[in-house]
Structures are given as C-alpha cells and as structure tokens.
C-alpha cells in the first residue's frame, strides 16, 4: 500500500511509520513534516502517474493546514480520483471538520489519533477493492 504521510509532528510521524511497518505496510511509505514539501513531491508524482494509494494527512499544521493542502490538491482531482484516498488524521475532531470531510471528494474519512491496527485495517479494506 503506497502511503504518503504528512504530519508536522516528528513523534506522530515516527509512530505512524512504526505502526505501518508492524502491519507489513511500511516499505512504500514516504513521510513529510512539511506540507509544502509534501505538495511539491506529490505534484511531481502526479504527471508520472506515481500517485500514492493512501495519504494520511494531519489537519492542524502551521502555515499550511490539512485543509489548505486539500484545497490545492483539489485542482488535480481528476488525476487523483479513484487512484488516491485521503484520510485525515487528527487528535481531536471538531464537528465542522467532520462535515467538511464528508463533503470533500478526495477524503475517505477522518481518523482520530493515534492510528492503530483496527484503523489501518479499515483503510486497507477501503483501498483493496480499488487496488
């Protein structure tokens, strides 16, 4: 499962990487602590057809929030639709975020941190039929 992880917190990044590895998914994970750098990376991958299957995106980041990130990504919706699923990872869920997540075409769900076995399985179940 090609996974792109975007979270400004190094501890969360470490944690998610380890969890993915324990689930046997880590070999293809790329992670970024800067959403800007992640975006540059992703925008280079899109034309090459190398789109990650899953993006785990933190919402609360300085200067570029997860929502800002998605706004920019939306411009490439056509290339991403059906290829790439975004899961928002957040440490507290605001009702407004939930509404927004449901309405966003690229977002498959909002997951409360920390990631765990069960949530990873949920992502797998969602991605597998498409893969």
């Amino acid at each position: 499962m090609h996974t792109l992880l975007i979270d400004d917190d190094p501890i969360t990044t470490f944690l998610t990487e380890r969890l993915l590895r324990h689930e046997g998914l880590s070999d293809t994970a790329a992670s970024f602590q800067s959403p800007t750098e992640a975006l540059t990376f992703l925008l280079r991958q899109i034309p090459a057809g190398l789109v990650p299957q899953v993006i785990l995106l933190d919402l609360n980041m300085p200067m570029m929030s997860g929502w800002d990130f998605l706004d920019i990504l939306k411009r490439h919706e056509v290339q991403l639709q059906g290829q790439c699923t975004v899961y928002l990872l957040t440490s507290s869920v605001a009702p407004a975020d939930e509404v927004r997540a449901k309405a966003h075409p690229l977002v498959a769900g909002l997951l409360l941190k920390p990631l765990d076995k069960r949530k990873i399985q949920q992502i797998r179940d969602h991605v597998r039929p498409a893969a």
Partner: protein, 357 residues
Amino acid sequence: MITVAPIADTDIRFRSLFDNTPELILYQNEASIILDANPAFLALVEKLKEQVVNHPYDEFLPAEVRGLFREKLAEAFTGKTVRFEMYAAQGNSAPRHWDVMKVPVREGNRVVGVHMVARDITEKNRQQQEIFAQNKDLQQFTYIVSHNLRAPLANALGLVDVLGQERADTPEFEHAQAYLKTSLHQLDQVLVDINTILTIRDKVDLAAPEDVPLAEVVQQVRQNLQDVLHDCGGTLRTTIPAGFRVRGNRAYLYSIFFNLLSNAIKYRDAHRPLLVELTATDEAGPGPLITFADNGVGIDLEQAGADVFQLYKRFHPQHPGRGVGLYLTKTHVESMGGRIEVRSAVGKGTQFTITLC
C-alpha cells in the same frame, strides 16, 4: 408610641413616580399626539414641556422607526399591553437601546390613551454582548486546549502500543521510549500553560495598577537579552520621553517586551542586521501608544489571518516554538485594559502597536 406614616395621596404618589423615574414616560392619544411627557423625556430631548405636549411623537423619532411605533401604539389601543426593544435616537439624543412598553389606559371598556414607558438598556446590552464575547472566547480556548492536550496524549497512547511490539534493545525501542517521555512532558507543559493563562486572567480585576516607568522595564528586558542581542549583531533603539509612565502591571509589561524582543531576535532576517525600534508617545490618543517594530522575516498575515495571537498557533515551522508567546502577550495587554495590533510584511518586518489606557 409607634407612629405609622400615613399613606400619601394616590395622585401625589403617582406624580412623584412620573416626575422622578429615570424612565421616559409619555401619554399619547390614538393619533400619536403627546398629551403628557415626564421630566426624564424632556431632559433627554432637551425641550420644554410646551414644545413637546400637543406635538406628534413622530417629531422626536427617526423616520425609520416611526412606522413601528405607530403600529405598536395601534396595538395598545386595542387594549393590549405591548412590549418591544428598539435602537433609536429620541429628539437629538444619541441613539440608545430602549426597552419600550405601551400600556393602555381604559375608561370603562374604551381605551382613552396609552402610556409609553421606555427604559434605557444600552449599558445592559453592552454588558450582555461583552459576556457573550467572553463566553465565545472561553469556548474557543477550551477547544484549543483540549486539542493540544489530546495531541501528546494520542502520541503517548500510540507509543505504548508500539513499545509492546518493538524488540527491546533495538534503536526503535529506544526511540519509542524517548518519544513517550517527550510526549508526557508536552502534556505536562500544556497543563502548565493553562495554569499560567488562567492565573493572568484571574488577576484582571485584582492586580492593582501602578504607574510603571516604561524606560526602566525596557532597560531590564534589554539587559536580560543583551547577550543574544549582541551575538546576532542586533540593535534595540528606544525613543521613550523622559519620565514616561504607563498605568499597568510591571511584571506584565516586562513579559510583553521580553516576548516581543525574543521573537524579534528569533525571527530576524539573516540578510540584514536586526534593528528593533521601540517608540512610546502620549500624544497619539487618549492613552499611551507604544510601537515595537523590527526588520525581521515578517509574518504572512494573509495566511495567518486572525490567528496571529491565537494560542498554539505557529507561523515559522522551521523555528522551534510552541505558539504561546504572542497569546500571552495579548492576554497581558488585555488584562491591563489595552489593545495590541500587528502589521507585517514578509521579508520586511513586523510592527506591533500597543495602546494602553
């Protein structure tokens, strides 16, 4: 012997109420002509009784509310007591919020006139709005705090999970352990922050303000940051009139300028030596005005928006920081009854303006 004061004559009692109450009282007929007006009304519209009586009430109301007043008057003439709230001027007075009551006066089955009693609720409304705003603030604060408590806690929970799966003596195990410790410290730090913030908020009404010599406080800040300021080749230039004092709390003022100067040093532009200019003046407005300007990297305000002073908001991801400094600065300024504003241009610098009272 006990003497019981005799009950005054009804007319005298009601006349005394009419004459002395701060509420506006008018007596009107069906055509909205004022037949009687109490001194409170006359004082507000600055007219003599004869300039008011036998005049239509419309003369004293702005055009946009006349229709409503007529409608309510007509309703009262059907025998109902009518009550409504309204924001309007009366005569040449400034517009105020009014709680208006129209009470019919009957003779037999017929309504012969209507008393209007209007109470000024401007101050009450203002206080309500203030409480409403404070409540919203607190709600926001709770949201932010809960999010920032949950973040390290979620990490700690996840790390405990991971520790159970890592083999001891591997670098990953050690990492997870160290991160767990860091997460718990972060959790503790948020609680310490809450405590600090609540303490400042608590003291809003308690701290006895003193006349603080600003130059002394700034000098203290300069001394304590001298080494870092010197190491980065920065300059702090101050223009404070001799004997300049501000009414407030010395510790808060120290914290405000310590924070601003620390930020200026931290977010200086590597392309030019740091220059900070602090200017104080008494002549700009009713209270002292202090500007604090640097030539640092600046903040992208368009992106940061209203968040600059918000708790745990950060604008320079490449620098370490917790997003507490400017929030505390604002809390300190506001707890002294002041205001702080920011202007900034990326690559040019940032300017804070503090107005105190």
